[in-house]
């Protein structure tokens, strides 16, 4: 850690991990509700646990992005953060607002929450992933503005690196596109069309800028490869992400009332969306092969490689699987969608945040580049357990999805939804078991922060790490 103010990243990372644990607990509840329909009913109905599961994911990833930003921006800009106090104040505002929202979901029926938070005045609630009360959404905007101001001033006053500028561009896009969550017309078609401007243009647009710039930062640090080379890759990757991803929005426009030309545009451009993810994989492995030092934080290198591979598998391959409109006609809104969602979010965004935490935490905690060998070993075990568990969740959901599509949408005598759900219950059970393994992996991950032992400072080979 080269700058005092980087320390504000630490509470953000701790909160992210805490909320991650909550997210997975609710994931386990959901998985059980799939096979034991009355589990926790009517106290926590499925829609409530799902909302908690997905909203916790979004909030902890945002905590992770913000923590990553506070850590890397001063180092890249070569100056202290403009205001660490503001960063800390926004941390508490965001955490309290987030916690109150989750408590609201669990404590009262959703309709009551809508009533007491005045959804009447500006209805924005009750849409997938945007379930937060309007007042929470306003809070998110306030936090985002304060955050962007703090970071923006720091970046503009300091050394302007490609990593910093791309990260700031991604974060600004994230904040601007979120404003579309306030647009909720009575016309469902228009509502859905612009809902995707938040959801798709986030995860298949500006979030990729954030992902790629964090990955570039970590690779510069752990490989010691020349910044010029890495920045060139970064530009090409984000160029491909936006060139394919923006019109790729069309793959969500097939069946929600929009003109048919989106089937062509969406199919062609979203079929190209795996390219930036494939380039990320090639990029990460190339840089690690060309490394000029062996960084003592082996765990961070593993997370970085994991991100590059799993993002390609989850977002790229599993996305392509059902993105062409003639295929999507049958798979749209099935368990195949759920399978893709899980592996893509895990591979791209969960892993990049964990990569950054893994890289930064030893600096933040011990002022050393790496945790002890034992702690790293445990962290690497957690990587493999969580990753393998998530792959098997994905495979079981994909199998369930294929059967669902076949029985419900393709046969001579299509069966009703609920009948099909019972027929594929075995796959849901296996998914739940995989979920438990994921949870064990997550507990190991948390445990790795409590392992005693000397932090490592030296480097084995040629050139000493300065990072």
């Amino acid at each position: 850690m080269q700058y005092q103010s980087q320390a504000v990243a630490k509470p953000y990372f701790i909160a992210a991990i805490g909320l991650f644990v909550g997210q997975i607990l609710f994931g386990l509840i959901l998985g059980l509700q799939y096979v034991m329909g009355d589990f926790l009913f009517p106290e926590i109905p499925f829609n409530v646990s799902r909302m908690v599961h997905t909203n916790l994911l979004i909030v902890w990833l945002l905590f992770g992005f913000m923590g990553a930003t506070y850590y890397l921006v001063p180092e890249e800009a070569e100056r202290e953060l403009y205001s660490p106090k503001l960063a800390l104040a926004l941390f508490w505002i965001f955490l309290v607002a987030g916690a109150l929202t989750i408590v609201g979901y669990l404590a009262v029926p959703y309709a009551t929450l809508a009533e007491i938070t005045g959804n009447e005045l500006l209805p924005t609630m009750g849409r997938e992933f945007l379930e937060q009360p309007t007042i929470t959404k306003v809070g998110i905007v306030v936090v985002a503005l304060g955050f962007l101001f703090n970071v923006g001033v720091t970046v503009l006053a300091g050394r302007k690196t490609v990593v910093n500028i791309v990260l700031l561009t991604g974060l600004t896009g994230l904040a601007l596109l979120f404003l579309f969550s306030f647009y909720n017309p009575a016309n469902l078609v228009l509502d859905k069309m612009f809902w995707w401007w938040v959801v798709h243009l986030w995860v298949e647009g500006v979030w990729e800028l954030i992902l790629a710039s964090i990955l570039a930062f970590v690779l510069i640090k752990v490989t010691g490869v020349d910044r010029e080379v890495i920045e060139k890759w970064l530009y090409v990757i984000i160029a491909m992400a936006l060139i394919t991803g923006i019109i790729g929005t069309g793959h969500h426009y097939y069946w929600i009332g929009l003109p048919e030309y989106w089937q062509w545009l969406g199919s062609v451009f979203s079929a190209l969306e795996p390219i930036p993810f494939f380039m990320m994989t090639v990029f990460a492995f190339n840089m690690i092969n060309k490394r000029r030092r062996d960084h003592p934080n082996k765990a961070a290198v593993l997370w970085a490689m994991g991100t590059a591979v799993m993002a390609f598998l989850g977002a790229g391959v599993w996305g392509f699987l059902h993105t062409l409109s003639p295929v999507n006609y049958y798979t749209h809104g099935s368990q195949i969608t759920a399978a893709h969602g899980h592996l893509a979010f895990y591979g791209a965004y969960v892993l990049i945040v964990l990569t950054m935490i893994s890289y930064a935490m030893p600096h933040l905690r011990f002022r050393q580049p790496a945790a002890s060998a034992r702690a790293q070993l445990m962290e690497m075990w957690s990587f493999w357990l969580m990753t393998i568990a998530m792959i098997s969740i994905t495979l079981f959901l994909t199998a369930a999805g294929i059967l669902q599509v076949w029985m419900q949408r393709m046969g001579e005598e299509p069966l009703p939804f609920m009948v099909v759900q019972e027929k594929i219950a075995l796959f849901y059970w296996m998914r739940e078991v995989s979920g438990l393994i994921f949870f064990v992996g997550l507990m190991l991950y948390v445990g790795s922060f409590f392992v005693k032992g000397e932090a490592r400072e030296s480097v084995g080979s040629a050139k000493p790490a300065t990072a």
């Binding site: 009913f41 499925f46 228009l190 060139k232 923006i246 069946w255 049958y330 809104g333 609920m418």
Partner: protein, 144 residues
């Protein structure tokens, strides 16, 4: 990557490419919004349909169901439920109104939302209007 391909070339592809495709996306968005009235039949969005959408949102129906394939995959698709229930709004209303408060042992069950008669009517109208959107003939069959 080869050395003859420079960082500034990469940057230009990024800037040029994204500006071009953002503009193209805006043009397409403009065209889509212009042609939508023919597909969404917005002339039929009565205050009752609008209220139905609000009831749909205030009870987080999308947390279990899909609507035109979007939402959660825990309960049946509802964009075509009006057709599936024999184009009968009363069946929809009856179904929602009679859900058991304590659920069904061992099975998935829709919560009892205690909707008023007016809200039930509105939701049914909203689902009827939704079923009439021209959504390129999706879902593939009546089962959704």
């Amino acid at each position: 990557m080869s050395d003859s391909f420079t960082k500034s070339m990469a940057r230009n592809i990024y800037l040029g490419g994204s500006v071009f495709f953002i503009l193209l996306f805006l043009v397409l968005t403009f065209d889509t919004v212009r042609t939508l009235p023919k597909r969404d039949h917005r002339e039929n969005i009565t205050p009752q349909v609008a209220l139905g959408k609000k009831v749909w949102e205030d009870n987080n129906c999308v947390g279990c169901h899909t609507l035109m394939g979007e939402g959660a995959y825990y309960a049946p698709e509802l964009a075509n439920v009006y057709d599936r229930f024999g184009k009968n709004k009363d069946v929809i209303k009856m179904f929602i109104a009679t859900r058991p408060k304590e659920g069904v042992p061992g099975r998935r069950s829709m919560p009892q939302f205690n909707l008023s008669e007016q809200e039930l009517d509105a939701v049914a109208e909203f689902l009827k209007w939704t079923s009439e959107i021209d959504d390129a003939n999706w879902p593939p069959n009546i089962q959704g």
